[in-house]
């Protein structure tokens, strides 16, 4: 880096014991730019999804929450439109996270860091916060000047207003978050009447402050220093990945350009630094692809605007692939033309697509093939077996029946392929088990095998539960032990 190190104040007499990072003052990018416009649209869509989703309703019948997306922690249930999951099915969430990760990899390998530049919450909220700064304090130059100037009434109220608006946005962010974990309209009512649960208020306070600090202060430092995804994205890059690039062979040698001067013997970059001042991470893209670059495309907008003004073709700074840049530079070197070629289908994208399809298929299968009931059988380990007075052997089991439907169910439970054995429920007459709606019932069961020399030391025992309403069955394998094997 050629930047002067701000920590070392050679002119002063004291040595600083901390390193002050230079503040980035992004200029409000021109509204004409298509990438800036795209960023606004994406931001509006994402914020709308985030803020309004908890208020969507989805009718699931009586005694069940009607919130479309709800994570009900006290009752350990997750609801997502037509899907409902129990803690036992949390692997579906794992699958969704894997799916999201692979989708991110696939997009990154084709389009580069578009997630970072457009969709990442850190980027979206930072963008919003910078816009607030712009509305209240003016553009880059005004802000820099005011920050350097002494304290005045105007400076105080403008700064104060900015921070108040930031905190309000933070509060809304934290507020929306807790709505995903409670019935949103009820919680909103409780919040407005100061009756909300302490937990919700605590989460809101935490997320308000974290939003305020992340988007108000930390900003690009999160992407540059803290974000792990930014660090390993290079593993998904190859020659055909879109990155923001500066057309060096066309732009150099750069220099100021007066209207009316010719373009002979010089590059097209007029060194106006517009690409630098709009950059939200404070880099100069003309130094080449750099680690902090989040590929937001604002420098592309800024440069295209300038190129239009000076009457040169657009694209001095642009999204391009490494392969294209090299082909173009080679072609120019020998005075030929070249063909732009964006390759989307390549081994990397193919195997990301295959993984995506496989994992997506598995998650969909898990959700669609979800059984309305489940049986779990746990063999008692203390004691492993009990000898009865007639010499027969008893094993005890804890059985759990899960009824995932929203109405009561009756199940029968019996042994499979063990005609000589006798099964008895403790505290229940017969073998019909009643399980209330949306609940788990636990029972103790004893199984007796008559004394016989043919009885193995260990054998598998299969229990079958039958849903008496639908006739569907499920088999669970367990163990029958008749002697200590030491």
């Amino acid at each position: 880096m050629s930047d002067p190190d701000p920590a070392i104040d050679l002119a002063g007499h004291d040595i600083q014991f901390f390193e002050k990072r230079p503040k980035v003052y992004p200029r409000d990018a021109t509204l004409k730019g298509k990438f800036r416009r795209l960023k606004w649209v994406v931001m509006a869509a994402l914020l709308a999804i985030y803020y309004f989703t908890p208020f969507l309703r989805w009718d699931r019948g009586p005694h069940v929450p009607d919130q479309a997306v709800l994570i009900d922690i006290p009752h350990s249930r997750g609801y997502f439109f037509m899907f409902e999951i129990w803690p036992q099915e949390v692997y579906v969430l794992t699958g969704l996270l894997v799916l999201a990760a692979i989708a991110l990899f696939a997009v990154t390998s084709v389009l580069g860091r578009v997630w970072c530049g457009y969709a990442c919450p850190q980027t979206v909220w930072t963008d919003l916060f910078v816009k607030v700064e712009y509305w209240i304090q003016g553009d880059r130059n005004a802000r820099m000047k005011r920050d350097a100037a002494p304290l005045t009434f105007e400076k105080v109220w403008k700064k104060l207003a900015t921070h108040v608006v930031w905190l309000v946005i933070g509060l809304m962010t934290g507020g929306a978050w807790v709505f995903y974990f409670h019935d949103a309209p009820t919680l909103l009512h409780d919040l407005l009447h100061f009756q909300a649960p302490t937990g919700a208020v605590g989460w809101m306070a935490g997320l308000t402050l974290s939003t305020y600090f992340m988007a108000g202060y930390a900003r690009e430092n999160i992407c540059t220093y803290a974000c792990p995804y930014a660090r390993f994205q290079s593993a998904m890059f190859d020659k055909d990945t879109l990155v923001i690039s500066y057309d060096r062979t066309r732009g150099e040698p750069r220099g100021k350009h007066k209207q009316g001067d010719g373009w002979e013997g010089r590059g097209h970059c007029i060194d106006c630094k517009q690409c630098v001042v709009v950059c939200p991470v404070g880099i100069d893209i003309r130094n080449g692809l750099q680690l902090p670059c989040i590929a937001c495309g604002l420098c592309v907008d800024a440069c295209n605007d300038v190129m239009d003004k000076v009457g040169l073709p657009r694209g001095l700074v642009r999204y391009d692939t490494d392969r294209n840049q090299r082909a173009r530079d080679d072609a120019r070197a020998c005075g030929k033309t070249y063909q732009e070629n964006i390759r989307i289908i390549r081994p990397r994208t193919i195997y990301y697509a295959v993984i995506l399809l496989v994992v997506g298929g598995l998650v969909l299968y898990a959700l669609l093939s979800r059984q309305p009931f489940e049986m779990h059988v746990l063999h008692d380990r203390n004691p492993l077996y009990v000898k009865l007075s007639d010499g027969s052997i008893r094993n005890n089991y804890a059985i759990k029946l899960l009824n995932k439907t929203h109405h009561d169910k009756d199940f029968s439970v019996q042994l499979v392929d063990a005609p000589q054995a006798q099964m008895k429920f403790v505290g229940v007459d017969g073998n019909i088990i009643h399980v209330p709606a949306d609940a788990v019932s636990q029972f103790r069961v004893s199984v007796d095998f008559p004394a016989s020399p043919l009885l193995q030391a260990r054998r598998t025992l299969v229990l079958m539960a039958t849903d008496l309403e639908t006739g569907k069955t499920t088999n669970v394998e367990s163990l029958f032990v008749t002697e200590d094997k030491r």
């Binding site: 050679l10 007499h13 040595i15 014991f17 901390f18 002050k20 007075s389 403790v426």
Partner: protein, 297 residues
């Protein structure tokens, strides 16, 4: 900080500025920590001072500072216990008036009794009977269907409350088998004969018993043992005489163990828990033991 000249104090090798401090020709490089780090550090210092104020922190000659909140682990434990007691008290008082049969019929009470009984069992009973109630030589297995003193609810309750041969409870279960060998009531040969006969009741002999030995053994059994253990060796729960014709043995199913028991019997002791535990706990223990698998109706 000494006033030294800082100008051009750049380390030629690393290109990093120095602090100007020099020891034997070594200069200290100035690689400052980030400002946010310093701020966080200062915040933790302030936070720590808050701890001193509200929590016990500093030792004094006679103890320690109490802090504004006067927090102690004992207090916290007390609060948690009160919380638990308050939660249990939504159900526990109903045990005072409910009979054992009532408790079994009420699913809520039964579940509560099983959970509470399981905890009490591990605290008071597991030392002898094992944490799963499987017992061991001399300590009956509570999971099976054989009961020396009876396996009905009230019988189990009486055994727990009054114990077996408990010296401090007049209502305790009391039984004593005579020492047939030690006191010279039977000869060593007769003891061997009757031991073989007892084994034959459950078919445990290594070789089939000859008819003559069987007849002789039956005679000795009828004269000495049948009064308590029953004519067929089926036992008698009123006298605490174990059944001898089944597959379960309190000590062991070997001839030596049976001979030893006839010769000079061992008599196990169980404490009278009614003197140590409250009524609710006794009822819960009874339900728990009854539902281990061998409870009788």
């Amino acid at each position: 900080m000494s006033e030294q000249h800082h100008q051009s104090d750049k380390d030629p090798v690393s290109g990093v500025n120095t602090t100007g401090h020099e020891w034997d020709g070594l200069k200290e490089l100035n690689n400052p920590a980030p400002r946010w780090w310093l701020i966080v550090f200062l915040i933790t210092v302030v936070w720590a001072i808050g701890y001193w104020v509200v929590y016990p922190a500093w030792p004094t000659l006679s103890g320690h500072t109490q802090g504004l909140w006067a927090w102690t682990q004992f207090k916290q434990l007390d609060e948690q216990r009160q919380e638990i007691a308050a939660r249990q008290n939504t159900i526990a008082p109903r045990f005072d008036d409910a009979s054992l049969e009532d408790i079994v019929k009420d699913p809520e009470l039964q579940a509560f009794a099983r959970a509470g009984g399981a905890v009490a069992f591990r605290n008071y009973c597991a030392a002898c009977h094992g944490s799963g109630g499987a017992g061991g030589p001399g300590y009956p297995n509570l999971n099976d269907d054989s009961w020396i003193w009876g396996g009905k609810l009230d019988q189990i309750y009486a055994t727990i409350a009054h114990g077996i041969r408990a010296h401090d409870d007049p209502e305790t279960r009391q039984s004593e088998m005579m020492a047939f060998g030690k006191d010279g009531l039977l000869s060593a040969q007769d003891i061997g004969t009757v031991a073989d006969y007892v084994l034959s009741l459950s078919g445990k002999n290594e070789t089939p018993l000859p008819d003559a030995a069987k007849t002789k053994g039956a005679e000795i059994f009828a004269a000495n043992c049948a009064a308590c253990h029953g004519e067929a060796g089926q036992g008698n729960i009123d006298l605490g005489a174990p059944a001898l014709n089944d597959a379960l043995w309190l000590y062991a199913d070997t001839r030596e163990a049976i001979v030893a028991q006839i010769n000079k019997p061992k008599h196990g002791v169980m404490p009278a828990w009614g003197k140590r535990l409250d009524e609710r706990t006794l009822k819960q223990l009874t339900i728990y033991v009854h539902t281990l698998g061998g409870g009788q109706e």
